[in-house]
């Protein structure tokens, strides 16, 4: 039996988290800032991740264009305790990942690209 879109998204996010040690949480959100699917710890407010992730990507994309840096590839926010990775998934969705400081960034970027290709096929 075919999986529902929600189940396919959940599996894709789960595989991404499994393939990249130190990924703590992931979400797919609409460009409107509304959560489509997520694997977040219970203490993380889903609505805020969605709204902020979409706003950060949107403003970064706009900044990139206005300051002539070309199309946005990814947004990586580095904090003292870890990273937030945000990438566009086609025209209408965004991938947000919360990652620990110990992550290998090369692996994170490589797997994120693979994950996005899968998410695009699902959505």
């Amino acid at each position: 039996m075919a999986q529902t879109i929600a189940a396919q998204l959940d599996k894709t996010l789960n595989d991404f988290e499994r393939n990249v040690p130190h990924v703590q949480a992931t979400a797919v959100v609409s460009t409107d800032g509304l959560v489509i699917a997520s694997r977040l710890p219970s203490d993380v407010e889903e609505d805020r991740i969605g709204a902020m992730g979409a706003a950060i990507l949107s403003i970064s994309t706009r900044s990139g264009r206005e300051l002539e840096r070309g199309e946005m590839v990814r947004v990586l926010i580095e904090g003292t305790e870890g990273y937030i990775l945000i990438r566009s998934v086609g025209e209408y969705a965004i991938l947000v990942a919360l990652v620990e400081k110990e992550v290998r960034l090369g692996l994170l970027f490589y797997e994120a690209k693979k994950c996005i290709q899968l998410l695009r096929e699902i959505l």
């Binding site: 609409s30 460009t31 409107d32 509304l34 609505d47 706003a55």
Partner: protein, 168 residues
Amino acid sequence: MADIKQVVLERNLNPYHSFFSSFFAGLAELGMINQGSINIVSKRAAEYLYSYLEAKEILPDLGAVPGDTPTEVAKNLILYINKILNLVGEYDFKDAEDGMAVLMIAGNTCRICPKGVGGAEVKGTLCPIPTLIENLVNRIAQKDLLELVTSGIEKEGSTCKAYFKVLN
């Protein structure tokens, strides 16, 4: 964007409507806000507005709010909120399928739409009304009377719709 003069006159806007809608339109065009963030800040605004109504001593007497069903009580509280805030011209709130109720707004009578009034040229919706109504009604009713089911507003032609679960 529609002609500003036409929008101002047809929707009977006051200066605060123009300010609010164009201000949020500008933030949306900069990519700073989206429907998700509007939902979050509308919840905060509902809390603040409740305090305002309380300070001005213009909260309705709950015992005197007419309505034989929770939907009717909610409808009358929405009427009160719209009278105070002057959000929209034509709207209805009525029972829908599966124990839900629907708020239907004639889009061309909305006075605070960042897109229709403020002229925001962005994709998606930017409607503060459903979350504002949900939280302000519940605050005034002093219980959970409405639970927003849709994550914002759904456009159906020129009508904007939001679905709520009506709780007893």
